[in-house]
Symmetry: C2
């Protein structure tokens, strides 16, 4: 197999669809988040406290309410040679036996742990079938020694069955009941207590509405439902008493500390292989028939194999709707595979990661993430817009985040959330041209019905109503940056970035309103946009860049006079992106960005970092300097610097900026970068941190969708606009040719870009020369060949 | 040394002031909760995940807001033989080296870990000086080998500096900053973030207002502020990389995962001993001078020794105000030492334990606990009454619990809370005769001032206003039993127990009102009491016992017709205690209690346990059957059965009941009982649990004060009443003589009880025969000898 981006810990396969880890000691747990729809789990390669944990979003119910497994523990499979008593685990943790061979394959929709210990090769494949609420742990053991082996397998997991992290397990554990169903060869676990209020609104008086199960397709020798029995008093997962002894006590019930462990024994001749299939899942309490069916279904190895093939096919199909082929292998594999997978599996469906538990929908977060679907399946973007619209109050403001099922939600005065609703709606309309969507009805939080159009208008109106005397938007409890939570707490602080953002939306929504025949509104928004632009340029321009915000007390953030927080990225990039700055000013702005913010490992959020707390700014200034929003690279915002460079036609620069933080490249220096080379991290320490270049909080970050978008819309320059697909690449000079296949309004465009020397530049569709650079939609379900000749 | 109550894991010293654990594998962590006033910690003998953890209540600030150490980790001292590289820990955890010798002494105000490994005897004494916010870890090492030893000591702790448990450590850790102050030889730790709102009411924008410190009295060789450096990547506390290596990296700052570790090196000749003193503490940020003074102060070994002596003297003095000497050694040591210590250190000052984090004041909880002070220092009971009165709303209802400092409090409709305010006030008045207390002013929660008398009246009035048409108290969201949270949710359910309770208060408060010249109220309460008594006997009497409650839907709990929850303890004991039942009925009631509820290990809360959830009852029925309130022995309630037996004059029975759940006796069967033999557990599994007899949730339970009270007031029969001290013992037949020393209204009574055969029974004070059995207070500051001759 050809491999790419080999580093000391692993490599990608040639197509980039698998990342293979070759040793257990990666500098951080390198994780896979598997969620092919309704049910998700987080798999750490080896190293964290656990091997993998289940963050169920069973039937779209998120883990916050329904975590099968205790948050701080994982799931393990132990193997024991019953002749010698030696034992190890199929993942490196928890036994931490030094394996003779070790590999973890993180693939799209699965992870595979392969190792060899004491002559036994083991392969543990973990995946979730597309439409069934079960995790499958598919084990293959091969005897590579020359003696017959008698091996015991023991699984281990700790039942949680509710809110995670569990803040009071001594209390909660009293409500869990485990049972071994001999007929089904299955451990069952129920909880007679759920944190959610019952139908009367009473707390602590409701069953957890599911039954969790753990089964294996071979008869068990013994089983265990109690943690102390398994570990032994004061015992450890590294060397549990039960494994040393080689037998479980067959205890279950209501009175223990609920775990699940199944014990199987197998004999394997030299050269022989055997397979076992474990299931972990949950169904509604009343669906015991379904549970039985699930267990029977996956007892069949062929069914398991088929389900595995299907889930891989599902992902391949989903991700292949857009394909790129450029001279940059890292760019290709991120855009073809991992960015989409990360955004969909980790952010939209799973809503969880290793560093942040999540489970909730962030109003602005998943809306932005759902842009990933614009180029894949825009109906899913529409779904997401509707879900978020339903979390808007009639006056226009919205929940900052909410947990589905419980519908517990945060209300605050963060001022940008609501505007992402029109923002993403506009993008959806540009992608699909489906203006009927504006008439779809979704209730506000109070149940009152409204059209999507009305929802968007209310968001804009609410924002317009919250402005300072100078006509600038009030920042409230923060805008894009949650950490600027004191800037406008008293109701005076203004945000320049929010001005840029609102300005762009007003401009675009003017067109929406016109198309909607809402001419008065269109006229009003056009006027508001004009005034806003003037106000920003009058009060927000600092000579070389835009300031970021003005605090309640008049302190100006992001100004030349500041010793810390002198210049902020978002206030510049969005001035360029939304044409708040005229061309000359935009170029000046970009020069300032380059001067202060574009660093070795990507564009940092601002500079210099705050070294001490500024109570008038907020908790942003309380982070360690250079970390996260405090002057680190915040990947989400960094992507907009790429887009801004593209907007200015700086293809070479745009590409260099993107590459400077693109994971496969950063992963070439893994002991500095630390995090996964295949997914974007939330942040990378900036120059004011002694760990400049260290990645953090990977997987569950809003940067994957945006990194993808700036690559496709910005660098490759294929961008949906009101009337068609604009082709306007901004690429590095060394690229001679590249290819993109993209769906657009019911047709597929296979776009071949080719650098030419002497011939005339131009675009040809199906051999015909195009006037300008906008492809008008064919909508004919066919494949169209587009040739782009550029100089 | 004489030892008593030896079991396989340990014993008491003769006076019962120390419990000595002799091996590390007690069936549960046997714990000490040390809190001599303002600052507390929980010490586990060995076995939990940690050795000891700090639950700071520094300056009366509770751990919820200000836990120095992460909740799930402890503190350790590692020892390493630098010649051989062998290492172990001064506590058994975390290295779990099998020691040559091992003892833990849990004393009053300190714990001592003594062990011997590789020829080194170590003694680690942990205590908190009475008035300084520091933990002292006093280490003595003795070389019992015949070679000089070069030893390294390494401490380990993980900084928390805020709310515990920390629900998102990946976030919180970014705000902690560590520093090594070379001049002070001290690690400092600060946090630039606190969960509490700042003075403007803003969240997440406030410094943690303290600086934590960790120092040692000898120069350090190296230090560490980062967890990964200490443990090594994927390392463990059992074998940290730093200990294996024998050196720390001298890293501190804002960018790590904040821990504290200090490394010292010592050379010890054969036979020689050396001592080191470690400090862990915190002061207000601005009190750096005080910090310096504290560090300097305790660098002196003599000061440490003196502080240790002082804290022991403090406790001895506090606990010696009441002394008993009976033929029952277990009864003596619990009443002389441990019950008082548990109530004061664990419940009132520390408000924490091993199984429940706590930190909050429970309205009814600490009020009842503060009864412990009636016989020790009644001013402290008065203080507690005033604190709770300040958590009452003007209409009479109260916070169910609240966290000091943040003043976050629960509001609910639990119906008994507020009545404990007059209940304990009445007891305080009977103890002290200090009716001026009723005029002391304490504001309601809204700031409105009111006298204690008014507070009490409002509580009673509010209760009187919440009654059913039948004149019975509405149970609301539960009464004594939080788990009966659905019984009266809809506003109809009635409580018989609450009726008994209210009846007693009305009767007593009639007298208070009369003494307060509030004659109309007195008359009204007298009438209400009479009506209430009638209503209870009309509607609550079931022929052989009192029912417990009537649910919203009319379902009767605790009735003969019930298959589960047939008879409840509290509904019977309080009928006897408060004379709701006439004498004949009371005796019948007690027979029913004996028949159904008095079991091998004490009186269970009700019988039979609920086997399945009853949504009309609440989460009580969701617990595992026989566990906690679901038909287990709930120690708090069990004590009242002892008191009821005393009330009926059943001395022998009362004593047998008490003994059946008294920890030293239960501790004779430690592998069944599991919990500590020296403190009361919250509960013991009842007969419907397969673990019948298993104790749970020790230390932080409201049972210690009540166990003490029923022993003193009930069994020994020395009870403060309105006008004096009534002497009315209810003792077992085998007791021939016993002695009690008790303070009462400014005088000390040394009471000698003696069984006589032929002579006339009677009481003599200072040699003079008393009429009746009530000692009228002398108030002369003198010691009075009381002789009680009984038959």
């Amino acid at each position: 197999m050809m491999t790419v981006f080999q580093n000391k810990y692993g490599y990608f396969d040639e197509e980039g669809k698998e990342y293979v880890i070759t040793r257990p000691d990666t500098p951080r747990p390198w994780v896979n988040v598997i969620c092919p729809g309704d049910y998700g789990l987080v798999i750490s390669q080896t190293g964290g406290g656990y091997s993998w944990k289940t963050h169920a979003s069973l039937n779209r119910i998120t883990r916050w309410e329904q975590d099968l497994i205790r948050d701080d523990w994982g799931k393990y499979v132990y193997l024991r040679d019953d002749n010698t008593g030696y034992f190890w685990s199929l993942t490196w943790k928890p036994v931490c036996q030094n394996p003779e061979f070790y590999q973890v394959h993180h693939g799209i929709g699965y992870s595979k742990f392969i190792s060899r210990n004491y002559g036994i090769r083991s392969q543990l494949t973990i995946f979730i079938p597309k439409d069934d609420p079960v995790e499958i742990w598919w084990v293959e053991l091969t005897n590579e020694s020359n003696q017959e082996k008698t091996l015991s397998l023991f699984t281990y997991l700790e039942w949680g069955l509710g809110v995670a992290p569990d803040s009071h397990r001594e209390f909660h554990k009293i409500f869990i009941e485990t049972e071994f169903d001999g007929k089904l060869n299955t451990l069952l676990s129920r909880k007679r207590f759920w944190e959610l209020p019952n139908e009367k609104g009473q707390h602590w008086n409701r069953d957890w509405e599911y039954v969790a199960f753990h089964s294996v397709n071979e008869p068990v020798v013994s089983f265990e439902g109690d943690k102390e029995n398994f570990l032994g008093m004061y015992g450890s997962l590294q060397a549990p008493a039960a494994i040393k002894k080689g037998r479980l006590t067959n205890s279950c019930g209501k009175w223990g500390d609920a775990i699940g462990s199944l014990h199987n024994q197998v004999k394997i001749s030299p050269g022989e292989s055997i397979q076992l299939v474990y299931l972990l899942g949950a169904v509604k309490k009343e669906e015991m028939t379904r549970l039985e069916e699930l267990i029977l279904k996956y007892q069949n190895l062929k069914t398991v194999e088929k389900a595995f093939t299907e889930v891989k096919r599902f992902w391949n199909q989903l991700l292949s709707t857009l394909e790129v082929k450029t001279p940059d292998v890292g760019f290709n594999l991120m855009n073809n595979v991992w960015l989409k997978y990360q955004a969909i599996s980790g952010r939209i469906w799973g809503r969880t990661g290793y560093y942040q538990a999540g489970g909730a929908y962030g109003f602005r977060d998943q809306l932005q993430d759902s842009q990933i679907f614009l180029l894949i399946d825009p109906d899913k973007t529409a779904e997401q817009i509707k879900l978020h619209a339903a979390h808007q109050f009639p006056e226009g403001r919205v929940n900052h985040w909410w947990h589905p099922l419980s519908e517990i939600g945060a209300e605050n005065n963060i001022s940008d959330n609501l505007l992402w609703l029109p923002f993403v709606t506009i993008k959806y309309l540009k992608e699909t041209g489906n203006f009927d969507f504006l008439d779809e009805k979704v209730p506000y939080k109070n149940g009152e019905e409204a059209t999507i159009y009305q929802h968007c208008c209310q968001a804009i109106e609410y924002s317009l109503s919250k402005r300072s005397k100078r006509g600038l938007p009030l920042i409230g409890d923060g805008d894009w940056n949650d950490g600027m939570n004191a800037v406008g707490f008293a109701g005076k602080g203004e945000s320049i970035w929010l001005g840029h953002f609102l300005y762009g939306i007003l401009k675009d929504f003017t067109i929406v309103a016109e198309k909607y025949d809402d001419v008065n509104r269109a006229a009003r928004y056009r006027k508001e946009a004009k005034n806003l632009k003037k106000a920003i340029n009058d009060y927000g321009w600092n000579g070389e860049w835009y300031i970021r915000a003005v605090c309640d007390d008049g302190y100006v953030m992001g100004s030349k006079e500041c010793k810390e927080g002198k210049i902020f990225l978002n206030a510049q990039t969005w001035a360029i992106l939304n044409d708040v700055a005229d061309e000359e000013r935009a170029k000046k702005v970009f020069r300032s960005v380059e001067k202060y913010l574009i660093r070795e490992y990507g564009p940092i959020l601002f500079y210099p970092a705050y070294k001490k707390p500024y109570p008038n700014i907020g908790y942003l200034s309380r982070y360690a300097p250079g970390v996260r929003e405090n002057g680190g690279l915040y990947t989400h915002a960094a992507t907009w610097a790429v887009l801004a460079a593209c907007k200015l036609g700086y293809g070479e620069k745009a590409y260099r900026i993107l590459k400077s933080f693109l994971p496969p490249y950063r992963g070439q220096n893994p002991d500095l970068y630390k995090v996964e080379p295949y997914v974007t991290p939330g942040n990378v320490d900036g120059p004011d941190s002694p760990n400049f270049g260290r990645g953090g909080w990977s997987w569950y970050t809003g940067s994957a969708a945006w990194t993808f978008l700036v690559a496709i819309e910005g660098i490759l320059g294929i961008k949906a606009e009101w009337d068609g697909l604009r082709i306007e690449p901004a690429i590095p000079t060394e690229w001679e040719e590249f290819f993109v296949s993209r769906q657009y309004r019911g047709a597929t465009y296979q776009i071949y870009f080719k650098k030419i020397q002497k011939e005339e530049a131009g675009i040809y569709i199906d051999g015909e020369r195009l006037k300008g650079n906008v492809i008008f939609p064919h909508g004919d379900g066919k494949i169209h060949k587009v040739e782009v000749f550029f100089k």
